[in-house]
């Protein structure tokens, strides 16, 4: 059967746990990892008679995020009950937002430092607040045994961020999630810890298959609970292949009678997505306004106040670094991706050294290499920006040549000392020209064979002399030695 090209169409629903001390509607702790059912109260257990009261901080964190995602913030928003039965949902409904979310119509710009796609704005349809459910601990071995229910997570504040179906590849998917995660981290609204479920992704995916008759859309599938980047990429790749095959076999199109949005799970062990059992009734959530909670009114003034207090976004930082220090998007991306402390460190080095490009090379190559090797955070890194800048300046001044400079850098790190001290310790000093010329004269005299080769046009033969010169004086600058020797041979 003919091989078809297609466009991959992806929209992402991201559930982000907001980093509040307490739950959305009660005073229980949101801390991860406590013993089961030790962080619950009548409210989050949904006990008869209990009532929710909204956490102010959760709304503030949600507003910060929505504004940073360029969303409109409607003046009026309200709470709705989303009703379905599940043992980890003790009230029989989830308090969420339906027709009037707290934010809508924003965008997030994504880019690829490797240039595999052009920078683009991915639309944000809406971001709304809701409470998390608890956990069902299944006996994976036998489906027969009981499931155990832990309600510690029940009521934790979530921000659900719904992207438009603007994403066109796994690279763009990764870029979107990376940028979103970085933004949330810079804003300080979530720890985004995917292992602990602080950031969970559902992906809506279908294909627009190219045919002679035009593009044919396949039915949309929602893949639930993708909790690592690897899962997401593998699941999308698999699902694209699967949808193409299904279409080739059945010819089924989006919107055809009998086709509805299917929900699938990802089995990473098998490397497949699988249909999740769903009764058609289960989609009737019977949303209605929660009578226990009052609506929320947000004035334009409040929005502006939040906007004014926003931390600088990664995007803004990258642009600033490129403009102010003339570095490449690649470098600005690497630096911004490290988080705010590294950005500040880099800028300090760049300013002090007076050369943003060289500062970027040292930070992105040497500093990050050491941090990785030692698995240090920047705060553990022994060199202040000033002392690194001092080294960089000496290199720029030609006082040290680059290969030795890296020895010096390692010595500074290892012994926590200044460039000056390291240079002294390593006995590195600039050799003056007269001394160099003396060395070169002797070498040329002592190596007629090399001289002949050079005269015979084999310039590179002079390299051997450079090596010998370094043996006599390790501080001999190779470029100077090469230049002087060639001049001497010329004259012969």
């Amino acid at each position: 059967m003919p091989d078809h090209t297609y466009d991959l169409i992806v929209g992402l629903e991201t559930h982000v746990q907001l980093s509040t001390e307490t739950k959305l509607f009660c005073g229980c702790s949101t801390e991860f990892g406590a013993q089961p059912n030790t962080q619950t109260c009548p409210v989050c257990i949904g006990m008869p008679g209990s009532l929710p009261v909204m956490n102010r901080e959760a709304l503030q964190l949600a507003l910060k995020t929505a504004i940073a995602l360029n969303c409109e913030i409607p003046e009026f928003t309200k709470w709705d009950r989303k009703q379905y039965y599940y043992p980890d949902l003790p009230k029989g409904y989830q308090i969420s937002q339906y027709d009037l979310p707290m934010s809508q119509k924003g965008w997030l710009e994504i880019h690829d430092p490797k240039g595999r796609f052009q920078p683009k704005k991915v639309g944000i349809i809406r971001a709304h607040l809701e409470e998390d459910a608890g956990k069902s601990l299944h006996d994976e071995a036998a489906g027969k045994a009981d499931s155990r229910i832990d309600l510690n997570r029940t009521g934790t504040p979530l921000l659900e961020i719904v992207s438009a179906p603007d994403i066109r590849s796994t690279e763009e998917t990764r870029a979107y999630l990376t940028e979103l995660k970085l933004l949330l981290t810079y804003l300080g609204v979530s720890d985004c810890n995917m292992q602990e479920g602080s950031l969970r992704v559902d992906a809506n995916i279908n294909l627009h298959i190219h045919t002679p008759q035009g593009k044919v859309p396949t039915p949309i599938v929602e893949i639930k609970n993708l909790n690592s980047f690897r899962f997401i990429e593998r699941a999308l790749a698999y699902e694209a292949k699967r949808q193409l095959e299904v279409w080739q076999q059945t010819g089924r199109k989006l919107g055809e009678a009998g086709t509805f949005k299917q929900t699938r799970g990802w089995d990473d062990a098998q490397g497949v997505t699988f249909a999740q059992r769903e009764k058609e009734e289960s989609s009737d959530y019977r949303y209605f306004p929660d009578p226990d909670l009052c609506p929320v009114v947000t004035t334009q003034a409040e929005v502006e106040q939040v906007r004014a207090g926003l931390a600088e976004s990664p995007r803004a930082i990258r642009e600033r670094l490129e403009k102010a220090h003339g570095i490449t998007p690649y470098d600005s991306d690497v630096i911004a991706a490290q988080g705010r402390p590294t950005v500040d460190y880099y800028e300090a080095v760049a300013k002090a050294a007076g050369d943003g490009k060289k500062a970027a090379n040292w930070v992105t190559q040497e500093v990050l290499r050491v941090l990785n090797e030692q698995s240090w955070t920047l705060s553990q890194f022994p060199l202040t920006a000033a002392s690194l800048a001092d080294l960089v300046k000496r290199v720029i001044a030609g006082e040290i040549e680059i290969t030795r400079a890296k020895e010096v850098f390692n010595d500074m790190v290892a012994n926590k000392r200044s460039a000056a001290d390291s240079l002294q310790a390593l006995g590195i000093t600039k050799v003056d020209l007269s001394e160099l010329e003396a060395i070169c004269k002797e070498l040329v005299a002592a190596n007629p064979k090399i001289v002949a080769d050079v005269k015979g046009g084999k310039q590179q033969a002079v390299g051997a002399l450079v090596g010998q010169a370094k043996k006599r004086n390790p501080n001999a600058n190779p470029n100077d030695v090469r230049r002087i020797c060639l001049e001497l041979i010329e004259k012969m």
Binding site: E21, T22, C41, K144, S147, R148, K279
Partner: protein, 96 residues
């Protein structure tokens, strides 16, 4: 819009109630009468009327993000019909 037995069956699943055939018949008959009665609201002109979901119009009622005591686990689980020392227990929910 008159309520049918099929509606009642569907609703009994949505509302998680198990009704016998006899109960379904009776429920259909009784609900149909009530639904028939409330239909009279259609004659009311509600053009441009704001829905009233709350008895008082209050807004922006918040609490501070301050920790309050949780229940001791035994107290939390005390009313559970089936439990172990740590968790509530239900028949396996795998595949649900």
């Amino acid at each position: 819009m008159s309520l049918t037995r099929a509606d009642v069956e569907k609703v009994s699943l949505l509302g998680r109630l198990r009704l016998s055939e006899a109960e379904l018949d009776k429920m259909t008959e009784q609900l149909a009468r009530v639904v028939g009665y409330v239909e009279q609201l259609r004659e009311v002109n509600t053009e441009g009327v704001q829905p009233m979901a709350h008895a008082l119009d209050m807004h922006n009622v918040f609490r501070d993000d301050a920790l309050a005591a949780s229940l001791p686990r035994d107290a939390a689980l005390a009313n559970a019909p089936k439990r172990d020392s740590e968790c509530y227990r239900v028949p396996a929910v795998l595949g649900e």
